[in-house]
């Protein structure tokens, strides 16, 4: 089963949930840290990287000798990454999404695609967890190709947990696509609810089964609970606002190891997530 852990708001506890869920699973599982702008699951699962691979994306290169300046490449590029401005078009690699449309459309075959490095993939092994994460290079703004490269490492048939980036934009879409269930982590605050509502709209647009986990429950109010009831969204778990959890987190420890009394809660959560998928399948 592929479970994606997402949230609208940042800092709600996606990674905390992902690493503890993975550890509580207690069987071989892949953890795909798709927050490639700041991967952090490895901080809780200390292990040396086993393998590091450079990831590239294709960007156009124009052969000025072949170009007749027809401008078709600029016309087809919806990202404004290539623009005709004289004899040969100018390319802006940082705007390019690597679709290859310009090279495809060019009647003179003056454009070829060349690889541009965007980041690395690193893999770790911690107990029964195979951790794969992407690390976007500094100065690169195009996360989705690297996120897809991380997800390409998923072994067919193996259970996997995807730690998605925060927000509701392209990187999140790239991370949750293909998941069989999505867990939205939020906190019981006005900000938490506001961004949760955006994330709910996103997962509904993808017709993915999903439920909500409230983190730091008791620290705010009950507006998230009321929202979930009104929207008929399963409230899968509430992680209490327990200072000891924050202390364990600050040490880089796992809740299920530092505070074993929470272990049962994570196992129960896992069962409920699997139930989400079954409900949809039924």
């Amino acid at each position: 089963m592929i479970i994606a852990i997402a949230s609208g708001k940042g800092g709600t506890g996606k990674t905390t949930l992902a690493v503890n869920l993975a550890r509580a699973f207690d069987a071989d599982i892949q953890l795909l840290d798709c927050d490639v702008e700041e991967p952090n699951a490895h901080l809780f699962l200390p292990a040396e990287p086993r393998e590091r691979t450079v990831v590239t994306m294709p960007i156009p290169e124009v052969d000025a000798r072949l170009c007749d300046g027809c401008g078709e490449c600029a016309r087809v590029c919806r990202y404004n990454a290539i623009v005709g401005a004289g004899a040969a078009p100018l390319v802006f690699p940082e705007l390019c999404h690597g679709c290859g449309g310009c090279a495809y459309i060019c009647p003179r075959k003056a454009i070829r695609e060349v690889p541009k490095r965007i980041g690395v993939i690193e893999t770790f092994r911690s107990g029964k967890i195979d951790l794969v994460h992407g690390r976007l290079d500094v100065g690169v703004a195009m996360a989705p190709p690297l996120i897809r490269a991380v997800k390409d490492r998923r072994r067919n048939g193996a259970p996997a947990i995807i730690d998605a980036p925060p927000g509701t934009s392209c990187p999140v879409v790239a991370a949750i696509q293909g998941a069989e269930a999505v867990v939205l982590v939020t906190e019981p605050t006005p900000f938490g609810l506001h961004d949760l509502a955006l994330a709910v709209d996103l997962v509904r647009a993808f017709r993915l089964p999903f439920g909500v986990v409230v983190n730091r429950a008791g620290s705010g109010d009950d507006r998230v609970r009321l929202f979930c009831a009104r929207e008929k969204i399963p409230l899968l778990a509430e992680i209490p606002d327990d200072r000891r959890i924050a202390e364990a987190y600050a040490r880089g420890a796992l809740i299920v190891e530092a505070l074993p009394e929470y272990r049962a809660g994570f196992l129960d959560l896992r069962a409920k997530i699997e139930g989400l998928r079954r409900e949809v399948a039924a």
Binding site: C70, G84, E94
Partner: protein, 131 residues
Amino acid sequence: MSAPKEGKKDKMKIVFSTSGDNLDAPLDGRFGRAPKFLVYDLETDACEVVDNLQNLQAAQGAGVQAASTVARLGAAAVVTGHCGPKAFRVLSSAGIKVYTCAAPTVGAALALYREGKLLEAQAADVEGHWA
């Protein structure tokens, strides 16, 4: 969108970034995301206003496309508030001069231009929004 080089350059045409449609309108400090461009013909004193709405709402590359629009209009110079690196690269590769100034209105900027009080920008004066 066709290649800007199709626009034949007219030495007397200059473009101002603006939110209005006459010389009393404010000079817009932004280039790529200015709502409109006022094209002024120094020879005939004729004005033409070109909409930039498409770039105003672009997710990215507004400066690149705005520069492309200006090149297609056949202008020889742009007067705006600020110009970023990507727009500057497109404009300079098309041989279009860039002048940045803080004049309050298009008319005031035009007066400064005519008096030769505007300095030609040699590089972008603000950071790009992506990378």
